[in-house]
Amino acid sequence: MAARQQQTGKPKHGPGSRAAAMMPGEKAGDLRGTLRKLLSYLAPYKFRLFFVLLFAIASTIFAIVSPTILGTATDTIVQGLMSGQGVDYEALLQIIVFLIGLYAVSFGFSAAQGFIMAGMSQQITYEFRRLLSEKMDKLPVRYFDGMTHGEYQSRVINDIETVNQSLSQSLTQVITAAVTIIGTLIMMIRISLIMTVVALLVLPMSMVMIKLVVRRSQGHFKNQQKYLGEVNAHVEEMFTGHTVVKVFNKEEESQAEFDAMNDKLYESAWKSQFLSGIMMPATNLIGNLGYVLVCILGGYLAIAGRISIGNIQAFIQYVRSFNQPLQQVANAANLLQSTAAAAERIFEIIDEEEEEDAFEPQAGHTLGQGMAQESHEAAERTQRTAAADGGEAPAAKGRVEFEHINFGYKPDHTIIHDFSFVAEPGSRVAIVGPTGAGKTTIVKLLLRYYELNSGRILVDGTDITEYSRNDLREHFAMVLQDTWLFSGTMRENLKYGRPYATDEQMIEAAKAAHIHHFIKTLPDGYDTKINEDADNISQGQKQLLTIARAMLADNPILILDEATSSVDTRTERLIQQAMANLMEGRTSFIIAHRLSTIKDADTILVLDKGDIVEQGTHEELLEKGGAYAKLYNSQFEE
């Protein structure tokens, strides 16, 4: 669900940008540190950034000068009239050509600035996404226990988008605004100091007004967000639980609850909407008052001969263009805060400690490139032949030893105590126990998703911590209950563990997993796409696909999580046969639910509350009359 909500991608918009700016902004914990870090990511672009700023400033300056020049044009006309000599068109034309030049230069700088900025900000955004993506593969599995998927996703998408927005738009906007304010002020003072003072008199009024409105509306905005959240949560819950609501006759109650929330939402919605709407008329009023004052005072000064009509005209333009940059600069602090907050969340992940010997992405190596594939195939061949020849790397056999291992997810809470056990190559180990007994923990330790507290695990005689993670995992094939497939073709999914397998090998694996026939019936065969929700194939078929995938990966140790979920009887049979094929000749660890599997196992590990309480064969354990016997008998007591 969370994932779906995130899919809009863009950061949530408030009602209009003006309103959004009034939202109580999030704050970064360490503003300065975060900003310094952000700057360090901009460092490689410092030349481009320099030019962006230079161009922005240049463009603004040229834009600021133009009203004065236009004013001179007006004055030329007025003079011509007043003097009765007629308008000096030559002078006027000169001014106008000069003006066009100014506009063109301003346009050029502005467009160039935007052009460079777009490339730069997108490159940075791309880099951030790549960093977070790689980090996903480098962080220890433990890290993800403490963070929901939705949250990670939101950082990769929303937070990066926020930073992107501030970089690509707000940064130049704020700088342009600052330059505009200063430049405009200078131009205004040049025209008339008194008029500038008068025009500026209304500014504090404007500030106070904005402050008042913001303060009043902030509460309503907060409420609106809060009630909106409540309404959404209620809707989500009730729609998801629609059947339950209905069969328990709770429709009226749920509606009443909804109405109450909805009404509260309405109250805060219209108030915040209204108050944020006041901003514009309020600042407008100030602007208009300034305008009127300038007209009156300008008229007075003009009569006194101290100012020209063209200057009044220019001055009006300046006063008009003063408000917007002022607001932008006022917002800059908020913006900085929310950018820093987003950036901080990104850096939090980037700075997170990676697992030792973490995955290192190889740049420039792209799947599907002919050359790369060939060389990889060659490498794989030599590796395999070396292994077969009994060269330096001894052939993997699949012997697994647990030596006095202790483990707990939390350091102070050990759940596996001094567990020792040896699985001979080719043997089957069934792990059983009640729900929540921690059956998957053993598997997770074996694959070194988590580190042991003490003791060691040996695979083919070597401590798993001495392998690189890559090499260690080369020993394992995995079929999980949660049939994870990605949205790609059947072929891509099957070859997931061995991208360079031939089609013959793939088909062979698919046949052994009893899925070849099904795939053949699909319109595009092995090139059929598994869609986003993977609902174009059934649960059972998904399971068969994951079995085929493991089969093709062809690794000596197998980890199997038997599904408890429901598939129809015939598919169920196919799955069992496929699994039996898969287990053939491999050391298998099976999280077992089916009795037949359990009975066929060479060893059964019985878990309870994370502790391995018993181990042995079916007969041995039954004779012992302990936890396993109880578990087994509970199904048939009559």
């Binding site: 600035q113 993506s133 729609f239 209905k246 069969v247 008052l289 995955f359």
Partner: protein, 579 residues
């Protein structure tokens, strides 16, 4: 869209007020340049200071009036938008609540949620924008144009020229950039999807050593996204300066042309300056209107999506002459029932007849798609039968109020689903005045008492939304307990034991038999173990009952049942079963 717009009807008086107020605001706003022009023409040129003061005062008044009108317009616009959204939200929620499962299934739940939340929010924002801008901009634009015409008809062509240029730029943008925007969104979705996939497959990715492949998969989308983003942003970087330069050039043009007219006495100098401002108003209004053309289709999409939901009338309603049944025993009878999903060509259930009596357990087993779940969903009338009838104590369930039917039924869905609140709140869902003893008893029967007691606050432990703080098996047990607390005559379990291990499953069934001995139990299951001891087992295949009887009988008579049993039980257990 029409359906959605209907909800704005009650607010028509408000909306008329908005139009009126905005009209007044526009008129005030537009008269300011005229007064400025007067100051120049009649004040400065003839050097008449009192005239300047007088006119200035009028302008101050107008400025205040202008803002007042704007505030008033904003007030009614806000109330309209928020009010209509509230009404739409309420209507939507209540309509969906009334949906039967048939209607619900025609949308995905996720899509319904988005429609009730995001889409309504979109409508609200669009409504405010429309009421403020879409109405104001044309009034302002036309008003400014009229003023400009009145000031100097022979200069008006300059505005036309500017608009023509702007339209050209806009058309270019529309065709060059708009399609890219759509791609942009789909690439973002794709990026999201890849991340979501990788997060959920974290363990698999690592087990298969396929990190590199995942990075490359991500990089493909990330690179595409960057390219499109650069293109779009660069177009935008070009757009805004273009608008500025067009406006500036129009200014120059007006001054140049105006100069000639002023000299030939066809135009007063103040009027030329006023005209400059009117021209700007026209152009800016025009830009706003074009922005509206981008906004409104988006809102229309939301409006349509909402309308789709609102237009659907729930098919299952109480009969007008519904009779409330008196004291119920809980006997369920299916009489020649057939059922097909709406729009489905084939029947999901075909000719089903059986009786489930009080004090007995009826079990239903069969493969996926055999119609088990469909069958039991007919009992609480989540769907209505297509043919035949279902009776509760001899009365057709369609002739009684849904409320009294459902009061008699306790239903445990396949997926244990809990609501936000404490465990006690959840258990009391079907009976809000249940005592603590009742809760404890139900918890004991459903085998949940031990884990509830282990929780930090026992029965008062909060369950997070969607119940993420409890495991799948615990959720199932709690939803069983919830149904037990309700204490109905009929208990229906839709494969509700699937996430339980054998031990718990067995203990639960044993306790259930003891505590609910008088009730009618109907159990759907995949596992033979769960149903072996039922009084009556129905074996389903392709929507038909292909076998009925007890476990022992079926092992002898029903080939399919035997097949299922053999795949799940060992020889020894089969032997036990037969013996």
């Amino acid at each position: 869209m029409k359906t959605t717009l209907r909800y704005f009807k009650p607010y028509i008086p408000y909306m008329l007020l908005v139009v009126l107020l905005l009209f007044c605001q526009a008129m005030c706003e537009l008269s300011l340049p005229a007064y400025m022009s007067d100051i120049i023409n009649n004040g400065i040129v003839p050097m008449d200071m009192p005239y300047i003061y007088k006119t200035g005062l009028i302008m101050v008044g107008l400025a205040f009036a202008c803002s007042l009108f704007a505030v008033g317009g904003g007030f009614f616009a806000s109330r309209t938008a928020a009010g209509a959204s509230r009404d739409i939200r309420r209507a939507l929620f209540s309509n969906v609540t009334d949906f039967s499962s048939a209607e619900l299934d025609s949308f995905s739940t996720a899509s319904l949620i988005t429609r009730a939340t995001n889409d309504v929010q979109q409508i609200q924002q669009a409504a405010v924008m429309t009421l403020r801008m879409a109405i104001f901009a044309p009034i302002m634009g036309i008003g400014a144009l009229v003023r400009a015409l009145a000031t100097s008809p022979s200069l008006t062509w300059t505005i036309g020229l500017a608009l023509a240029v702007i339209i050209c730029i806009m058309v270019f943008m529309f065709f060059a950039v708009m399609p890219k925007f759509r791609i942009l969104q789909s690439k973002l979705d794709r990026l999201n999807q890849v991340i979501a996939e990788r997060l959920s497959g974290l363990l698999v990715v690592r087990a298969f050593n396929s990190e590199q492949a995942e990075e490359e998969r991500f990089d493909v989308t990330n690179t595409e996204l960057r390219k499109i983003n650069i293109f779009v942003n660069r177009c935008m970087a070009f757009l805004f300066p273009s608008m500025t330069i067009v406006m500036n050039l129009v200014n120059i043009l007006i001054v140049w042309v105006g100069a000639h007219m002023v000299e030939s006495q066809n135009l007063l100098i103040g009027d030329m300056l006023a005209f400059l401002q009117y021209a700007m108003h026209v152009i800016i209004s025009f830009l706003f209107v074009t922005m509206m053309f981008i906004m409104i289709p988006r809102a229309a999409v939301s409006g349509n999506r909402i309308g789709e939901v609102l237009d659907i009338r729930p098919t299952i309603r109480d009969a007008e002459d519904a009779v409330t049944p008196s004291a119920l025993r809980g006997e369920i009878t299916f009489k020649d029932v057939s059922f097909a999903y709406p729009d489905a060509e084939e029947k999901t259930l075909d000719d089903i007849s059986f009786t489930a009596s009080p004090g007995t357990t009826t079990a239903i087993i069969g493969g996926t798609g055999s119609g088990k779940s469909s069958l039991i969903s007919l009992i609480p009338r989540l769907f209505d039968v297509t043919e035949g009838s279902i009776c509760l104590d001899g009365q057709d369930i369609r002739t009684m109020p849904q409320k009294s039917l459902r009061d008699a039924i306790g239903y445990v869905p396949q997926k244990g689903l809990l609501f936000t609140g404490t465990i006690a709140d959840n258990l009391r869902y079907g009976k809000s005045d249940a005592t603590m003893e009742e809760l404890e008893k139900a918890a004991a029967t459903s085998q949940s008492i031990s884990f509830i007691n282990e929780m930090p606050n026992g029965f008062d432990t909060e369950v997070a939304q969607g119940g993420t703080s409890v495991s799948g098996g615990q959720k199932q047990r709690l939803s069983i307990a919830r149904a037990l607390v309700k204490d109905p005559q009929v208990l229906i379990f839709d494969d509700s034991f699937s996430a339980l291990d054998f031990k718990t499953d067995a203990a639960l069934r044993k306790a259930l038999r003891e505590s609910a001995s008088e009730k009618t139990l109907i159990i759907v299951a995949q596992r033979i173990n769960t149903i072996m001891d039922a009084d009556q087992i129905l074996v389903m295949e392709d929507g038909r009952i292909v076998g009925r009887g007890t476990h022992e009988e079926l092992l002898r008579t029903c080939e399919l049942y035997k097949e299922i049993a053999m795949s799940q039980l060992s020889e020894e257990e089969l032997g036990k079963g037969v013996a």
